[in-house]
Symmetry: C2
Subunit: 142 residues, 2 copies
DNA sequence: GGAATTAACTTTCACGGTGAAAGGAAACGG
DNA sequence: CCGTTTCCTTTCACCGTGAAAGTTAATTCC
């Protein structure tokens, strides 16, 4: 069992860090009634267990000019195209996220771009590997 | 112009922190040829500008039992249902992300759940507000 | 029952990252 | 040529952090 060693205190620490990963262990400790050092030990345990994979930023791509935010459902043109599509997706930094999915299409993908022109150019290249259905994000609700 | 005050050094710092937000300013400074304090000042500037919104974790929901990862395309049943759907989506902690989109459907949404049974229960409640098309993530490619 | 063991916590301590403050260099404008 | 602004470095004091050692409680074994 994977969860055997993860209790509710660990979960509260996790939630706390998800909200703000810069909170000090001491501050978190006050919420869960532990010393900062004990919190530190639990955080290390969560890292070792692979629950916490790393630390990163919540940020706003819009503010550096990445104003286009698109979701793509990908359909393969042939059974042999998977590898080339995956290689393409991994190599392009516009591609923020890719998942193999069941249901609608074969893959689901998120991209961020600077403009409609860039989107157009990107889609043209994507077409060499796969067909797609495009949704543009108009507003982030949550 | 928003970008006027953001230069390539800022972008390198941003990339650096996106990879690992725990890197010290001193360490980043060595990469961009600045002192740790100068890096700190730029990071603060990025925060004030709203580029950096906060600090959070990269983590693995799988490891705490959230094994079901689904994407949903949402279709409204009527023009008046939007508010109730948005309220529903915001209130449910299973819902990790929601966007208003153009193209296929009205909204796009990501949920994480513990099991097929939970997914079933969730979808039943969702149906009170909207129709949907479901894709399950089988594997994270990127 | 009592001794040994283990797990998880607290206390203490030294190191180093951080932000504030002050000083310096380069660019700009009258 | 001088004042101003901007961005940097240096210095310094504070505090968060992890390591180590000590404490407590629960478990196990004879």
């Amino acid at each position: 069992m994977i969860n055997q060693s993860i209790d509710e205190v660990d979960l509260r620490i996790l939630e706390c860090l998800l909200e703000d990963a810069q909170r000090s262990h001491k501050e978190i400790g006050q919420l869960v009634h532990l010393t900062g050092q004990a919190v530190g030990a639990r955080v290390r345990k969560l890292q070792d267990a692979g629950v916490i994979e790393g630390y990163t930023l919540r940020w706003n791509p819009d503010k550096i000019g990445l104003t286009v935010h698109a979701f793509l459902i990908i359909f393969m043109k042939s059974n042999t195209a998977h590898q080339s599509f995956i290689a393409f997706a991994k190599s392009r930094e516009e591609v923020a996220e890719v998942h193999r999915v069941s249901g609608e299409g074969c893959y689901w993908m998120r991209v961020r771009l600077r403009s409609g022109a860039e989107l157009n150019a990107f889609l043209e290249q994507l077409l060499q590997h796969a067909n797609y259905r495009l949704s543009l994000s108009i507003e982030t609700i949550k």
